[in-house]
């Protein structure tokens, strides 16, 4: 049985989150930089305890995941799901697996990946993205031009490769924040 799921997983912080009603102007401004749908989540309200880092990091995250053009959003979600699986973050995996399923309307494909693992059968383009995401996550020091070749053969252009690198790197960060400042609670 896999520990990963596409169902809603909740997240419980280990320090008190900021309360939206009593937030300082600095905390509110930092939250404004975060993705609109998530800026009142417990997770972002917890990060709002340090508004200076959240303002920059929230804007960074928002652009990495949602900037127009470049790597299709579903493929950013695929990459961040794979990073989250490799890092063992059940909460992040559930969120981004669900977004992939919503964007592609291929929930069965994602369910198979969660159950069989990242080695499951995939199209060549998805295979190349998944392999690169897993290796850059686990062995950043071993990445070289040869690792880009399967991505290029699958048709990724420069901006798509850059977006992929950003997505993978962002979740080296997100998974660590999520796992240390709180815990995932399975459905």
């Amino acid at each position: 049985m896999t520990r990963f799921t596409m169902e809603e997983v909740s997240w419980e912080p280990r320090i008190p989150p900021v309360e939206a009603e009593s937030a300082t102007p600095e905390q509110l401004a930092a939250l404004e930089a975060c993705p609109p749908a998530q800026r009142r989540s417990t997770y972002f309200l917890t990060l709002a305890q340090d508004p200076a880092s959240l303002g920059e990091r929230g804007a960074l995250f928002n652009n990495v995941m949602y900037a127009a053009r470049g790597l299709p959003r579903a493929e950013r979600e695929l990459a961040t799901t794979v990073v989250s699986i490799v890092n063992g973050c059940i909460y992040c995996t559930s969120v981004h697996a669900r977004r992939f399923a919503e964007l592609t309307r291929e929930p069965a494909e994602m369910q198979r990946l969660l159950e069989e693992g990242i080695g499951t059968d995939l199209s060549p383009r998805r295979r190349a993205i998944v392999d690169f995401a897993a290796k850059l996550t686990a062995e950043p020091g071993a990445i070289g031009a040869a690792d880009l070749k399967p991505l290029r053969e699958a048709g990724l252009d420069d901006l798509e490769v850059l977006d992929l690198i950003h997505s993978i790197a962002m979740f080296a960060n997100a998974n660590r924040l999520m796992q240390s400042l709180g815990r995932s609670i399975a459905p």
Binding site: Q49, D50, R57, L60, G141, G144, D158, L177, Q179, S180
Partner: protein
């Protein structure tokens, strides 16, 4: 003068080069990655986590990640801030950094409570965790961009 861009400086990405132009297509990401580093390591108001502690933690995580250029940068910053005083608080921060960087799934309530018991506020705890978790982002961004440089040079 434009703000220093750590990533481009460490990689030797020249202004006007193809990789610099590509990064400008994601100007907001470039700017906020630099901004996050500034706010985490050298914030104007460091609050309850000193500049020396911040620099020492960044160096520690960079060393665990093995990125020579980033290690050298962190050493330079640490030389300007000075090292944090030896003692239980610094030891605890380094142990916490090791856990968050290498095995975050092992973190528990007791680890966070231990930081609070050293007098760290929720803001301080979020700040150090953000800092420790940001260095793994940089390490992977540097590694990915280096692969693109290598590809272009071939």
């Amino acid at each position: 003068m434009a703000e220093d861009d750590l990533i481009e400086r460490l990689l030797g990405i020249e202004p006007g080069s193809p990789l610099a132009a590509l990064r400008l297509q994601r100007e907001a990401i470039r700017r906020h990655a630099q901004g996050a580093w500034r706010e985490l390591v050298l914030p104007e108001t460091p609050g309850g986590v000193s500049h020396a502690e911040r620099a020492a933690l960044a160096l520690f995580v960079a060393q665990r990640g093995g990125d020579a250029a980033l290690i050298a940068e962190c050493r330079t910053i640490l030389a300007t801030t000075g090292t944090p005083p030896a003692g239980p608080r610094t030891e605890l921060l380094v142990r916490y950094a090791e856990m968050v960087a290498e095995a975050p799934e092992c973190c528990g309530q007791a680890d966070i409570d231990a930081l609070a018991a050293q007098g760290m506020s929720p803001q301080d705890i979020v700040a150090v965790t953000q800092l420790i978790a940001f260095v793994p982002f940089q390490i992977r961004l540097l590694a990915g961009l280096r692969a693109m440089q290598e590809e272009q040079a071939a």
